[in-house]
Amino acid sequence: MSLSSRSVRQNVAGVDPVLELRGLTRRFGSFTAVDKVSLAVSDGEMVAVLGRSGAGKSTLLNMINRLVDPSEGEILYQGRDIAKLSGAELLAWRRQSAMIFQRFNLVGRLSVLTNVLTGRLNHKPRLPKLFGFFTDMERNLALDALAALGMDEQALKRADQLSGGQQQRVAISRALVQEPRLILADEPVASLDPVNAQAVMEALRRINREHGITVMCNLHSVPLARAWCDRVIALSAGRVVYDGSIAGLDDAVLMRIYGSSTALTEAH
């Protein structure tokens, strides 16, 4: 098994939804971070989630992976309610919905290769992995994933010796070896310089196109969303204020999201 031998699927937006959120809500005490969000995502789409800091973007993505439990509502994936999963089924879902974080969330003292191999922890056999044993097939898979992102030379270095851009590419490799159906990227480029930001967005787009993996990506940058995504979902105070094509993202919509339009289009 290798990553490149997978079937190449066409990225066609607008076919029947594979992921559907219904009235999804998350409250922290009296504060409502995500407020009755309903939306549908089709298989193979690349969706940008926009909104100001605190608009609920991170909470939304974390709820889909179930790192954060919803207070109310449904998360349907192929008709199955993800919000109700528990135990082994929940862990299997987390494997299928890979997360990418703003701060990369690698384990600094482990090697790059071991960090990528943690993406295989939910694949059988599981017990040997508790004692550090992975199969040769998995090591090869991890190396292929690193090579696909130009990081194979760094495989045996400690993860905390890498630059931010390199660490994020390792994190994407980790997501790839999970063999996910969905990639949830939470501000993947917010800690990176513009060149690395473009490289990471390009990698996500390539994964989306070549493997047909659905990508939901929280972004702060409107130009990045315009350059790399098919569709935009915008949140404000936990509610969806825009859900549509990139082309429809005009000044009036930006005003609704950010309360200002000029500062955003000129940045970057």
Partner: protein, 296 residues
Amino acid sequence: MNIVEVAPQSAARIHFAEAWGRHKRARRLQWLIGMAILLVLIAISAELGEVNLGLLWERLPRFGSYFGRMVPELAWATLWADLAYWYWNGWHWLASLWQTILIAIYATIFGVVLAYVFSFLAARNLSPAPWISVAARRVLEFARTVPELVFAVLFVFAFGIGPLAGVLAIGLHSFGALGKLFGDVAENIDPEPLRGVRATGASWAQTMVYGATPQLAPDYLSYGLLRLEINVRAASILGFVGAGGIGQDLYRAIKNFDHTDISAIALMLIAAVMLIDALCGWMRGRVIGQEGLRAL
């Protein structure tokens, strides 16, 4: 220009000076009452504890003469023969000392392994459920509150005289002490890498191994080595209740009034403890030193 001189006798300052005076008088009174209570308590506890300074002074020479009797007769002309006579049972004592060190090493490994597992249960940020954290902490408290000697007496009764009882007694106490320290350290780790591992679908145990352990390994190693130092000292005493090692020889020498044997064994023991301390200190320095350099 000088702001201080703008209002030399403002109402606020006069008011404050009065308040400050009252405050100082109240503090002085508190201090006097506190000292009086302390002195009374010291007097009461001296009376109850039968502390008698006169007796201490009177009997102090006896203490010195005991040490005097422990000094072996060494003459320069017959030094080697005298030393050989002093350490007449040296090889046996060396073997016992080695057993003591092995008891300490096995007990430390036993304690570290158990404490490693329990630290993740006890740490409030890592525990699978709050009640598990509370339960784990109670177990650790029990293990470290009971002194090693008490555990040793129980285990000698159960498993017979010998080093096994010593290993279990010191190991159990180490488990309690280390589990508490490990658990407290684990509560301060960076949660982000843990989220990264958790999000891949890793189980709780896998998350502890791949997300938490790499962050904690240097601290755990450092505390483990410190515990080894402590355990060598503890193991040298446990022989008194029959739990193996050099303590059994020391106890026999004291019981039989073999005064030069006591000094011979004690000197070996002190040398061994100093050696182990230096070795552990050096190893801990290496572990911490590397981490410290990296941070700078």
